[in-house]
């Protein structure tokens, strides 16, 4: 994974000094509240319902064990001993004190971490597939390009005050999209053209929030070395022409829609023609420089441990289920990708204690070359585990609460912090997730239901990605009371689709029953091979509607 050199270190420390100065001026009144606001947001600092909230950046989800240990220490020393993994693979602290934030940032900088641009109207953390570099169907490892984008976008002088926030995601797998790139402001799909050259298919103007949209393609093939100049052209067009008169119409998707994707693409291409050969154009040496940080770890030459695993799975049904759901195929023989579930019922999705962060660090050191990865589904991946040690790892995960074998099932809920923590929320989301998890606590039934994405957001900012859940739940406020609107048919993968609203919203107490009725319809109508989404696509909304509103 990427390691800072002296330049990165210097910039990180200068950033801490800058924010320390800004915080001091804010506290002594030299900076007015509205002047400090974008400055603190660009350092991930919100003022929330109960306390400030600090969002720490985890670039494209990659973490080293020393970083996890430092995060654990920070949650203990400056917070209440726990943290929350977000859907942008970042980490949030819910109770830091404003005046402590510069010290927290200094502690983060020591381990090559920061909170730059985790909020505000600027370019946010670039995300990618948590299985990058270890799956066998990727066009190339996307992480060097994510790091290239991270550096280009960090303190970019022209794009620090965009009309609205701006999110970029990169995907490299040909078969799956675990980064949901089509619902990002820019989604980059790595591809090879007919000549075999590496490049990107460029989607622009996807997004969730108030006006959910799947991002159209504005360029089928962008050569890899042109990545940054093309991004700069897109951002410049957006910075100049994106709407600034109405916050709800300020995302790039509104501009793309207004100009049409073709019209928007023309403007970008015209701008790009001027700058494509500028010094911002990448060089093969630069790409190679970043690639050297993402080489393979010291894998041993192993055979697949098929016989051993088969025996262990046969002998232990719980282990068998865990392997089926939480373990994925690795490109190297003898290795496996393990996902630690942070979706144990009774624990807010994505929440971890200080001790758990340290346990993840220990497990990463022991089983996965000292690295762990955050996923946008709010779980944690150990990407390089030996197959012959899976059983041993599983036995360690169980008492720690990480072995819930529910990945991609109904109870692997994506969920924002909601009204319990977030000042923007219209409704709570964590209790809804928990009530549904309790209702569906029979693992066999969950496995029978198969793959279902249930996503919950406490407001239309859609941090819980409800629009792209097969079942999406949105908290709404009706005359001071919390209600929940359901949408069906959303999909965040290669065939990205925005879900359709089922009908009038429900009270919180009704939610487990409502979900159960939706599931009943699926169970009754499905054919043998169909997932929930397949059945919905075949039979449409009406049967679900009839059952729920009968």
């Amino acid at each position: 994974m990427y390691v800072y050199d002296e330049h990165d270190r210097q910039l990180a420390h200068e950033r801490v000094a800058q924010f320390r100065d800004q915080t001091r001026r804010a506290l002594n009144g030299e900076l007015e509240e509205d002047e400090f606001l974008p400055l603190r947001l660009q350092n991930g600092l919100y003022v929330q319902r109960l306390a400030p909230m600090l969002r720490i950046c985890v670039p494209y989800g990659m973490m080293r064990s020393e970083q996890l240990r430092r995060l654990a220490r920070i949650t203990r020393d400056y917070d209440k001993g726990y943290a929350h993994f977000t859907t942008r693979t970042n980490i949030q602290l819910n109770w830091p004190r404003l005046e402590d934030v510069p010290d927290i940032l200094a502690e983060l900088a020591d381990v090559e971490m920061h909170a730059n641009q985790t909020s505000g109207n600027c370019i946010r953390n670039t995300t990618t597939d948590p299985f990058s570099g270890v799956q066998d169907d990727e066009v190339a490892d996307p992480r060097p390009y994510c790091e290239i984008i991270r550096q280009w976008s960090t303190f970019h002088p022209e794009f620090a005050f965009l009309p609205r926030k701006f999110k970029v995601a990169v995907n490299a797998s040909e078969q799956t999209d675990r980064a949901a790139i089509q619902v990002h402001d820019i989604g980059l799909q790595m591809v090879r053209n007919e000549a075999g050259d590496l490049g990107f298919r460029v989607h622009v103007g996807g997004g969730l929030g108030r006006t959910p949209m799947v991002g159209p393609v504005i360029r089928e093939f962008l050569p890899e070395l042109d990545l940054l100049t093309y991004l700069e052209a897109i951002l410049r067009v957006y910075n100049r022409y994106g709407r600034r008169d109405n916050k709800f119409k300020a995302r790039i998707k509104i501009l793309v829609k207004a100009l049409t994707p073709e019209g928007f693409a023309e403007k970008v291409e015209a701008e790009w023609a001027h700058i494509k050969d500028s010094p911002t154009r990448l060089t093969p040496e630069a790409v190679a420089h970043f690639q050297q940080y993402f080489t393979e770890p010291a894998y041993e030459a192993l055979e697949n441990a098929s016989d051993q695993l088969a025996e262990q799975r046969f002998a232990n049904r719980d282990f068998d289920q865990w392997v089926s759901h939480n373990v994925d195929q690795h490109k190297k023989p003898g290795y496996a990708i393990v996902t630690l579930s942070l979706k144990k019922t009774g624990v807010p999705p994505g929440d971890v204690s200080d001790r758990q962060l340290e346990q993840i660090a220990d497990l990463a050191d022991e089983y996965s070359f000292g690295e762990a990865r955050a996923t946008h589904e709010q779980n944690v991946v150990l990407a390089d585990v030996r197959q012959d040690r899976l059983f041993e790892l599983w036995e360690k995960l169980r008492p720690l609460g990480f072995a819930t074998a529910n990945l991609n099932t109904l109870t692997d809920v994506i969920c924002c912090p909601g009204g319990d923590y977030c000042a923007l929320a219209n409704a709570k989301s964590i209790p809804v997730a928990e009530a549904i998890q309790r209702r569906f606590d029979d693992l066999d039934y969950l496995y029978d239901l198969g793959k279902i994405d249930l996503n919950i957001s406490g407001c239309m900012n859609a941090c819980g990605h409800h629009h792209v859940g097969n079942i999406g739940v949105l908290g709404v406020d009706k005359k001071g009371e919390e209600f929940y609107q359901i949408s069906l048919g959303g999909d965040s993968h290669h065939n990205a689709t925005i879900g359709k609203i089922l009908g009038p919203s429900f009270a919180r107490e009704a939610m487990p029953d409502v979900i159960a009725r939706l599931i009943d319809v699926y169970v009754e109508k499905r054919t043998e091979e169909e997932t929930f989404l397949d059945t919905y696509q075949r039979i449409g909304m009406d049967p679900f509607k009839e059952r729920v509103y009968a």
């Binding site: 330049h7 910039l11 000094a17 303190f155 022209e158 100049r240 001027h274 010094p279 420089h289």
Partner: protein, 167 residues
């Protein structure tokens, strides 16, 4: 007279006045001192204003640098207005004037110009900053130099960090 900070952080006062856009039906009233007039009016009255070294122009944040283009170099001063410091369009206007149209004379930030944006402005080609009068101009120097280097190329450097690393 407002404090004007230079790119090196020194503070000066000068007598360039920003002339507001006249109301509909009103004519442009020029003061007896160097002044900056709306860029579209300068373009419309080009034959009248050309060659005067006491008249510059200002862009509002929605205006297009393309309209002035390479004629920018006929002007002693071009200003870009930040109606609100969080309106980032002025940064793009500045880079286009400098990098695309080769503007070489003074490029001044006016309007809601605060301390914490100065280094971004400098990197985008501004070399004079009419700081909002309630802000402390003596802090300008520090705020212009929070960072000793940068990741990207911009108006101030042709060498993004990835090119410096490779050399």
């Amino acid at each position: 007279m407002p404090n004007v900070i230079s790119a090196d952080g020194t503070i000066r006062q000068d007598n360039w006045t920003v002339v507001a856009r006249p109301e509909d039906g009103e004519s442009l009233d020029l003061p007896n001192e160097p002044c900056l007039i709306p860029v579209d009016l300068w373009l419309a009255g080009h034959e009248h204003f050309a060659g005067r070294n006491d008249i510059g122009v200002w862009f509002d944040s929605h205006q297009e640098p393309e309209d002035l283009g390479e004629r920018a170099n006929e002007l002693p001063v071009v200003a870009v207005n930040f109606p609100k410091f969080s309106d980032g369009r002025g940064y793009s206007i500045a880079r286009l004037l400098r990098e695309r149209y080769g503007y070489r004379n003074e490029l001044r930030a006016i309007g809601d110009v605060l301390l914490d944006q100065l280094q971004f402005m400098k990197r985008c080609g501004f070399d004079a900053y009419a700081l909002r009068p309630d802000k402390d101009a003596t802090k300008g120097q520090d705020c212009l130099n929070f960072f000793s280097q940068s990741y990207q190329a911009a108006t101030d450097t042709d060498l993004p960090l990835f090119r410096r690393r490779a050399s």
